[in-house]
């Protein structure tokens, strides 16, 4: 595998795509290091798919430059095509053909012999747990099976760069975890993955760097940690014994921490952001101070937890800053080690789908269902 001297799998300068008067992609600069998972995060209509299609040579940019492993997507499209593959947002396999036929067809188009294409197809179908459905038309596949066959098609020849456009949208938690396993396995083979998603948790778990895009522009870029610290040091979640003490606790916390305090639908719960100071005296110090003040004021704290700011908060803060929305839900979804009851309450309180997505791993899923049954 040759990597271009800059060590970048993707490099774009001022990439632009205009549909009529709609600037779907409006000057995007990306630098994706080879061998990593790079997350592109953004709300619906942000321009993620459009950007990916340009990088995969499916759409011609209207402005700017884009290089994949140092090759221009405009002038050297064939060279780019020989090194990338794309699993689009919508399944790009032939629904009328069976799973195996789809893979054999692609194998043949990649220049493999009939027998190699057949054995490779069999191997992939087995590895992706699709052997039982191998002889069935893809149109009979479930959403999760389609995703798998689509990803299998993309790695028939291990690509140097794999584009995954919202690979887990609409998948159940188990299938989602399996797609994540697949992504990790692909990267372990040295492939670079560019992953678009609307799920913060996904980007957080998989990506080593993330670009947040909105309205066709990159509005933030960095490691998940950098993005999180850009919105503060974290937050503290507190459960009181007595709901009547909440107004007092709210006032006190606001004073000590100097930040807005959120109160959810749970009458005994409070969440307060801990502003970062850029010093080593971090969130824990501030939290300890706040708890001390509460104790001194005679307010009984039953349970508390510290949360790093979640990417949900980052996402909301960044993409909704212009809309000046005061979403109470965004603060509720912190990835704290809080009790499952609190987590369930937080998720239920939040109206935003993104926030509820944060609680969608298997274990959390189970915890939530148990709680709601209780």
């Amino acid at each position: 595998m040759t990597i271009d001297p800059t060590g970048l799998a993707i490099e774009t300068h001022g990439l632009v795509k205009v549909f009529g008067t709609n600037r779907a992609v409006d000057g995007i600069d990306l630098r994706v290091p080879a061998g990593t998972v790079y997350g592109v995060l953004g709300p619906n209509g942000a321009g993620k798919t459009t950007a990916v299609k340009m990088l995969a040579t499916l759409l011609r940019p209207d402005g700017g430059e884009a290089y994949v492993f140092g090759k221009s997507v405009l002038r050297d499209a064939d060279a780019v095509r020989s090194r990338v593959s794309l699993t689009g947002q919508y399944a790009s396999v032939d629904e009328d053909l069976t799973g195996t036929e789809n893979l054999v067809l692609l194998g043949r188009l990649l220049g493999h012999t009939k027998s190699f294409a057949r054995s490779r197809a069999g191997e992939l179908m087995a590895a992706f747990g699709l052997d039982k459905a191998a002889a069935r038309q893809v149109k009979t596949y479930s959403g999760g099976m389609r995703r798998r066959i689509d990803i299998a098609a993309s790695i028939l020849n291990t690509p140097d760069l794999l584009f995954l456009d919202e690979p887990t949208t609409g998948l159940d938690p188990r299938s989602r975890n399996q797609v994540w396993d697949i992504v990790r396995a692909v990267v372990a083979q040295g492939t670079t993955v560019l992953l678009t998603t609307q799920y913060l948790e996904e980007a957080d778990r998989l990506a080593s760097r993330i670009a947040v895009i909105d309205h066709g522009k990159v509005i933030a870029e960095g490691t998940p940690g950098e993005l999180k610290s850009s919105v503060g040091a974290g937050s503290i979640h507190i459960r009181l014994r007595d709901a009547a003490q909440r107004p007092d606790a709210e006032r006190l916390l606001g004073k000590v921490l100097g930040s807005a305090v959120q109160t959810g639908t749970d009458p005994v719960a409070l969440t307060a952001a801990i502003p970062g100071h850029g010093t080593d005296l971090g969130a824990a110090e501030d939290a300890a101070r706040a708890l001390g003040e509460l104790a001194r004021a005679g307010i009984v704290v039953d349970d508390f937890s510290l949360g790093q700011p979640s990417l949900d908060e980052v996402f909301m803060a960044l993409t909704e800053s212009s809309a000046s929305s005061t979403s109470a839900g965004s603060a509720e979804s912190a990835e704290s080690a809080g009790s499952s009851a609190e987590l369930a309450a937080g998720s239920a309180a939040s109206a935003s789908p993104a926030a509820s997505e944060a609680a969608s791993t298997d274990e959390q899923h189970d915890a939530i269902s148990k709680e709601s049954a209780a």
Partner: protein, 302 residues
């Protein structure tokens, strides 16, 4: 309180296909087998990169795809079998007595005409199915492959050629049953069908362009009908143009379908070297010259 992963409406839509039967009938497939990490690791190491296939090989592979589609969706052959049979029977018995005095005499005249009309009509499915394919996204994958780009289109048309041959066989068979006895015999009939297939191949590219240009399957269908109905009916398919008013004759005489029908009649009559045949071949070449580059440019730009 249930707040688990919200289902994206787009995916619900994608799942439409599952309703039709087979998936539900197979209980074993309801639960997806897990993906095993070791299996995955093993299948990822495929750095075997053969040279990319040449234009011919890639086109033939796409032709194979077209065959597979016919195998899985044989209903699509309905258009190329039932429709021509219906046309043949309808026109033979409807007009036979009135136009030629007897159905028997009319069959000799009308079969080559019906043959041409039916095949030319079904060329429009090239555009319809291309449009449909692009709509469904599978072309996005083809277009990220480092292959000769036109191969996907050429392969599709190769598949269509098979349909033309099939439909021709059906019509000739029905004709023979109705009493069609061409003077040219087997070689004449074969030559006639061959010329027709050559013309249809060239003509298919026109629909390829519309398939790429228009937004929906329906509009491709609409445009094709608008072109094909006048083109095939205002010709010498059913009646001798001499009975028509002068202005109509003028159109019929320049209509390429008229030339094609005359050429096919000549060939089936055993008259091989006619100017009409040459005319059709030249016209087909011209169609290819104009209508192959246009869709290819559209396809690359899409």
């Amino acid at each position: 309180m249930t707040t688990v992963a919200t289902q994206d409406p787009k995916d619900l839509e994608k799942g439409r296909g599952e309703r039709n039967g087979k998936a539900a009938a197979d209980p074993g497939s309801e639960v997806l087998a897990p993906v095993v990490a070791e299996d995955l690791a093993a299948v990822f190491v495929s750095h075997h990169r053969p040279p990319k296939p040449g234009p011919l090989s890639a086109s033939l592979t796409f032709g194979w795809r077209a065959m597979l589609k016919i195998k899985h969706v044989p209903e699509q052959l309905f258009d190329v079998t039932a429709f021509p049979i219906m046309m043949t029977l309808m026109f033979t018995y409807l007009f036979g007595g009135a136009i030629a005095g007897s159905t028997d005499a009319y069959v000799q005249f009308v079969i080559p005409g019906i043959l041409v009309q039916s095949i030319v009509m079904i060329t429009m499915y090239t555009g319809v199915s291309l449009n449909n394919d692009i709509e469904r996204g599978v072309f996005d994958r083809f277009r990220t492959l480092p292959i000769w780009r036109p191969a996907a289109l050429v392969g599709m048309i190769l598949g269509d050629l098979l349909r033309y041959v099939l439909a021709s066989t059906v019509i000739i068979t029905v004709g023979l049953i109705l009493g069609f006895r061409p003077d040219g015999g087997v070689p004449g009939v074969l030559a006639g069908v061959a010329l027709l297939v050559v013309f249809s191949f060239a003509f298919s590219w026109v629909w390829t362009m519309f398939g790429l240009l228009l937004r929906s399957e329906k509009s491709v269908m609409g445009v094709s009908m608008m072109v094909l109905f006048p083109l095939t009916f205002l010709s010498n398919v059913f009646v001798d143009p001499k009975t028509m008013p002068g202005w109509l004759q003028a159109f019929v005489d320049v209509n390429p379908i008229t030339h094609l029908v005359s050429a096919v009649r000549d060939l089936m009559d055993g008259d091989f070297a006619t100017t009409e045949t040459v005319w059709v071949l030249v016209f087909s070449a011209a169609l290819v010259a104009v209508f192959v580059p246009l869709p290819l440019r559209l396809y690359n730009r899409k």
